[in-house]
C-alpha cells in the first residue's frame, strides 16, 4: 500500500529533478568544454556556452532532408530526451534518494540507457543521408559492444549484494547507499570491485559518444555522422539529451561506487554540532559534495580521456569492449565471487 501524499511529493520531486538535470547537465557540459580547452592551451568558450548553443539552435531553421522519414526523423530527438529525463527519476542525487526509488531499479536504468542511443541511430537511419546512415550503423555496433560489459558490471554488483546482504534489494541504489561495496569486500574483492569500476569508466565515454569512442559522429571524417542532417530545435533536443545523459552516467557511477556522504565526516572531525544539528546544513554539504563527485567522474571519464586519446576505428572500439573490457569485468566478477567464499 502506498500513501498517495508521498506519491504526489515524489512525482513533484521528479519533475523538479528533471528540470534541474537539464540545467546542471548543460552547466557540466560548459565546464567540460572549458577544461578541455585549457588542456589544449586554448581559452575555450565561456561556461554558459551550452546554454547559448541551445538558444541559438532554437532560432535556426529545422530542415527536413528530402527522402527522410518525417515522423521518425522529428520524433526521435524528443524520444531521446524523454528517455534521458526519465533516467533522472531512478537515480540517487546525493542527499536526495531517487525520486521514484521504490518504483524502478537498476534493470530499468539499464534499459532506459539504451533508448537515447537507439533514438539517435533510428534518427540517423531515417534521415535519408548516407553519411548519417554510416554513423547510425556505427552507433548500433558500438551499442552492441558496450552493453555487454555494462550488463556484467551491474549484474555482478547485484549478485554480490544478494550474497553478502541476503534479503536486500540487489538492484536498488538505496542498498548500495546503505552499505557501499568498499566496506563489504576483502582484499581480493577490493581488486574485483576496482576492475568493475574501471570497466564502467571505460563504458562511460562510449555511452556518451565522446572521443575516442565518437566514431558514430566523427566530425572530421563523417561531418557529424548520424547528426549530420539534424538542425535547429531537433539538434537542440539531442544536445540537451546528451547533457542530461552525461550527468546521469556520472551519477550512476557515484551511486554504485561512491555513495558516501560528507556530512558525517565534517561532523566528526570538525565538531560543529551547533551547525550540523540543522539537517539542511548536512543536506547542503552532501549536495555540494555529490556535485563535486559528479564533476570528478566526468573529468576523469570524459574530459581527460577525450583530450588525451585520438578517435578509434569502429572495429577497434567493438573489439575493446567485447574482449578486453568484458574480460576485465568478468575477472572482477570472479574476484568478487572468490571474496564471498571467505578466507581468501
Amino acid at each position: 500500500m502506498m500513501d498517495i501524499n508521498d506519491l504526489y511529493v515524489r512525482m513533484l520531486l521528479g519533475v523538479l529533478a528533471m528540470l534541474a538535470a537539464v540545467v546542471v547537465g548543460l552547466a557540466y557540459k560548459g565546464i567540460d568544454r572549458k577544461i578541455a580547452a585549457h588542456m589544449q592551451s586554448r581559452i575555450g568558450p565561456p561556461l554558459r556556452q551550452p546554454f547559448r548553443d541551445i538558444s541559438k539552435l532554437m532560432q535556426k531553421e529545422t530542415i527536413t532532408p528530402d527522402g527522410a522519414v518525417d515522423w521518425i526523423f522529428h520524433g526521435m530527438p524528443v524520444i531521446g530526451l524523454v528517455a534521458a529525463l526519465l533516467l533522472v527519476l531512478y537515480i540517487p542525487w546525493g542527499p536526495l534518494s531517487p525520486p521514484l526509488k521504490a518504483h524502478g531499479d537498476l534493470i530499468l536504468v539499464l534499459y532506459l540507457l539504451i533508448i537515447p542511443s537507439l533514438a539517435m541511430a533510428l534518427g540517423g537511419f531515417s534521415s535519408g543521408s548516407p553519411v548519417a546512415a554510416i554513423g547510425a550503423q556505427r552507433e548500433m555496433v558500438m551499442m552492441m559492444s558496450y552493453e555487454f560489459p555494462l550488463a556484467i558490471v551491474i549484474l555482478s554488483l547485484a549478485w554480490f549484494y544478494t550474497r553478502v546482504l541476503p534479503g536486500s534489494a540487489p538492484f536498488a541504489f538505496t542498498t548500495m547507499e546503505a552499505a557501499p561495496i568498499w566496506g563489504l569486500v576483502g582484499p581480493i574483492g577490493f581488486i574485483g570491485a576496482v576492475l568493475l569500476l574501471l570497466s564502467l569508466v571505460v563504458v562511460t565515454p562510449s555511452e556518451l559518444s565522446k572521443i575516442p569512442f565518437d566514431a558514430p559522429e566523427a566530425e572530421t571524417e563523417l561531418g557529424g555522422g548520424l547528426m549530420a542532417e539534424y538542425s535547429g530545435r531537433d539538434l537542440a533536443m539531442f544536445y540537451i539529451a546528451d547533457a542530461v545523459k552525461g550527468l546521469v552516467m556520472a551519477a550512476i557511477i557515484v551511486g554504485l561506487f561512491f555513495p558516501h556522504p560528507l556530512s558525517p565526516i565534517v561532523e566528526k572531525y570538525y565538531a560543529l554540532p551547533l551547525i550540523m544539528d540543522q539537517p539542511v546544513v548536512a543536506w547542503i554539504i552532501d549536495g555540494l559534495f555529490f556535485l563535486f563527485k559528479v564533476f570528478l567522474v566526468l573529468f576523469a571519464t570524459v574530459t581527460t580521456v577525450r583530450v588525451a586519446f585520438p578517435r578509434l576505428k569502429i572495429d577497434k572500439i567493438s573489439y575493446i569492449y567485447l574482449v578486453p573490457v568484458s574480460l576485465m569485468a568478468l575477472a572482477g566478477t570472479l574476484l568478487l565471487y572468490l571474496d564471498t567464499l571467505g578466507g581468501v
Binding site: 504526489y8 530542415i63 527519476l89 524502478g104 543521408s129 553519411v131 555496433v141 534489494a169 572495429d315
Partner: protein, 117 residues
C-alpha cells in the same frame, strides 16, 4: 492530504526488482510535455529554397554506392570478432545433418556438465 491509500497493481514486484509501469507511463508523459515544451520554443520548419533538402555529402551528388548495405550493417562488430567468426562460418555448411550433430554434441556436453558438476 486526502488520507487516501492506494495500491498500484500495474507493475512488477519481485524479490529481485521493482517496476511500477503505470507511474512510469505517467512520468513519461510528464517528461514528454517538458521535452515538447522546450522543442516548441524553436523555429518550426524551414524556408523553401534551392538545394535546401539535399542530403549532406561533402558538396557532391550522392552516388548510389554510398549507402550502407544491409550486409554491412554490423561491420565493425563482425570485423572485431573475425577470429571467432572465421572458424564458425566454416561450420555453417547448410546441411541439416551437420546442425543436428552439433546440437547432439552440445546437449551431451550440457547433460554431462549438469550430471558431474
Amino acid at each position: 492530504m486526502f488520507g487516501l491509500n492506494f495500491d498500484i497493481k500495474l507493475g512488477l514486484d519481485t524479490d529481485g526488482g521493482t517496476w511500477t509501469a503505470l507511474l512510469f507511463a505517467l512520468m513519461a508523459l510528464v517528461a514528454f510535455i517538458i521535452a515538447y515544451a522546450i522543442r516548441s520554443r524553436g523555429i518550426k520548419g524551414h524556408k523553401e529554397r534551392e538545394h535546401v533538402g539535399e542530403p549532406f555529402y561533402f558538396g557532391n551528388i550522392v552516388p548510389s554506392s554510398a549507402w550502407v548495405k544491409s550486409g554491412n550493417v554490423y561491420w565493425g562488430f563482425v570485423k572485431a570478432m573475425e577470429r571467432y567468426y572465421r572458424p564458425v562460418r566454416g561450420e555453417h555448411t547448410g546441411n541439416a545433418n551437420d546442425y543436428i550433430s552439433w546440437m547432439v554434441v552440445a546437449m551431451t556436453a550440457i547433460i554431462l556438465m549438469v550430471v558431474f558438476l
